[in-house]
């Protein structure tokens, strides 16, 4: 496995008043890795992810995303990452083609590139017939697959996925994971959060966040061995049960 480090986090901390949302976390993520970022509600996942995307300034600690510093080079970070969340990803009142064009444009692709990518993308998702349909009229699973493909349209170094498969049917959910593996094979690092514990098993490595700290970080099989559990679900329960805090 190549060990190019694309995310380097050192004692990263974020406080809101006297509340420490993220408490001195440190980890590394390698190129082409599928990295699962797990934790209970309120463990500090969202806050940590925001800092890594350059949306929120850390209170202390260091982090470099694709080699760029999270304090000073947030603009460069934004250019080298893709982002997709369950809540907002695409404009529902624009068509598939218009969304592709819009996000391609935002990330500075040329018209020629957008055209090529657009054909490629709709072809691979079997969505050629849906090109001129409103995104809002598509089934959720299709939307999410489309949103993911658009999030990596500019070949980012890292793509951040915040619960991308929530509520998606089991078949489409697996198709979505195929897209994730394809992206990883192209060298895109995938940083993902999920509430589906079976999906945790699909990741190369997993970090478990509890009360703002990373309590465990390893491959799924090693974690199961370490906590002598049969599934990631049990590992999760074991770790999260010890949680003190309950607020988001």
């Amino acid at each position: 496995m190549q060990k190019d480090i694309v995310i380097q986090v050192n004692n990263l901390t974020k406080c809101f008043g006297d509340f420490t949302a993220v408490d001195t976390i440190s980890f590394e993520v390698y190129r082409g890795e599928v990295f699962g970022f797990l934790g209970a509600n309120g463990a500090g996942k969202t806050t940590a992810m925001r800092m890594l995307c350059g949306l929120s300034t850390p209170t202390s600690g260091e982090a470099a995303i694709a080699g760029y510093d999270v304090y000073r080079q947030t603009e460069n970070i934004k250019k080298s990452i893709g982002y997709m969340s369950q809540k907002f990803s695409l404009y529902e009142d624009l068509t598939v083609a218009e969304n592709i064009k819009l996000f391609g444009g935002i990330y500075g692709l040329t018209n020629q590139e957008i055209k090529e990518k657009s054909a490629q993308l709709t072809g691979r998702l079997y969505m050629n017939d849906q090109r001129h349909k409103m995104v809002g009229s598509l089934p959720l699973g299709w939307k999410q697959k489309l949103a993911f493909s658009i999030a990596i349209i500019h070949q980012p170094k890292i793509v951040f996925l915040d619960e991308p498969t929530g509520g998606v049917d089991p078949v489409t959910r697996r198709q979505f994971w195929n897209l994730i593996y394809d992206a990883a094979a192209q060298g895109i690092t995938v940083f993902i959060t999920t509430h589906y514990m079976d999906e945790a098993e699909y990741c190369n490595r997993i970090s478990m966040m509890v009360d703002g700290k990373i309590k465990a970080l390893d491959s799924p099989s090693n974690l199961k061995r370490q906590f002598s559990s049969g599934s990631m679900y049990e590992v999760f329960l074991r770790l999260a049960r010890g949680a003190q805090r309950t607020s988001d």
Partner: protein
């Protein structure tokens, strides 16, 4: 008497453009914990809204607690508790204020029915002065459940109560539902998480407005066509690709650390052939064993049918 009777309910939106429900029928018995399992967009919320008298069906009949949903909506509203998909609490009111408000909605008081919610309320009581908007997902969910229960309903409708809630809170929530069931309350609950299906007495699998199957979780699993196998090798990513080209495979998909595989013609030769095929492709440490399918496997199978 059946608590909920649904007969051939259909519902469309946008002048028939979107078919949300296509002739759905099932019955839920008194005191049963019934799960409606399906992904987003399957029609779960529409069905809940029809049963809670918030929407009128295009065709078909439905009865809740022996009352017609179309005509007796006022009576039904007195007898049911409803927790919509989005947590429908007043974010700017405190935990206590929310609970008191919902109690007085039905002309009752928190003290009167406290015994029913005590087990749930103790979890959030330490935060009773906190605004609902500042609670975590799991606590909001508990508060919403208390609010839906406070008037001692005979039938409880919970639309995706565990969506977006972490695994720990989800487990606690299901334990609470079991205790409520023991009090004789009929509970209809929907969820997109297939692993929660086994916690229900009976489940209906729903997809694109149609019921795929109705049975006990055990019964659903027993109805699975043929055998299911779990396959694993050292390089799971390559294994997925290679399996796509393998012969005699009915279905193959990732499931946790394994692939779940079923055959077109399932016999010992088929197993040997697959083993040889994978070895030829250079896979090492191949694990191959038969497993009992889960509800999710059944769902995928029914979807592909």
């Amino acid at each position: 008497m059946k608590s909920i009777v649904i007969e051939n309910i259909s519902k469309t939106y946008d002048q028939g453009e979107v078919k949300a429900l296509k002739g759905v029928s099932f019955k839920v018995g008194q005191g049963e914990l019934f799960g409606l399992i399906g992904p987003d967009g399957a029609g779960k919320t529409t069905l809940f809204r029809i049963l809670t008298t918030l929407l009128l069906a295009d065709s078909g009949d439905a009865m809740v607690d022996g009352l017609e949903v179309m005509t007796a909506y006022k009576k039904i509203r007195r007898r049911i508790g409803y927790m919509p998909g989005r947590f429908s609490l007043y974010q700017d009111l405190s935990v206590e204020e929310n609970l008191n408000l919902f109690a007085s909605l039905s002309g009752t008081s928190v003290a009167e029915n406290y015994d029913l919610i005590r087990d749930i309320y103790v979890h959030i009581e330490p935060f009773k002065k906190r605004r609902a908007g500042q609670l975590s997902g799991g606590m909001k969910q508990k508060l919403a459940l208390c609010c839906a229960l406070i008037h001692r309903p005979r039938v409880l409708f919970l639309d995706e109560p565990t969506t977006g809630v972490d695994a720990v809170s989800r487990q606690e929530f299901w334990e609470m539902l079991k205790r409520l069931k023991e009090q004789g309350i009929t509970i209809l609950v929907s969820t997109p998480y297939m692993d929660e299906a086994t916690l229900c007495d009976r489940i209906a699998l729903i997809q694109s407005g149609e019921i795929l199957s109705i049975d006990t979780p055990q019964g659903i699993v027993e109805k699975y066509r043929g055998n299911l196998y779990a396959v694993k090798s050292t390089d799971i990513g390559r294994l997925i690709h290679d399996m796509q080209d393998a012969a005699n495979i009915r279905s193959c998909y990732a499931f946790g650390e394994f692939l779940h595989v079923s055959f077109e013609r399932d016999n010992a030769t088929a197993h040997q052939k697959l083993d040889k095929y994978l070895k030829d492709k250079g896979h090492s440490d191949v694990v191959f064993r038969q497993i009992t399918p889960g509800v999710e496997d059944c769902f995928i199978d029914l979807m592909n049918e």
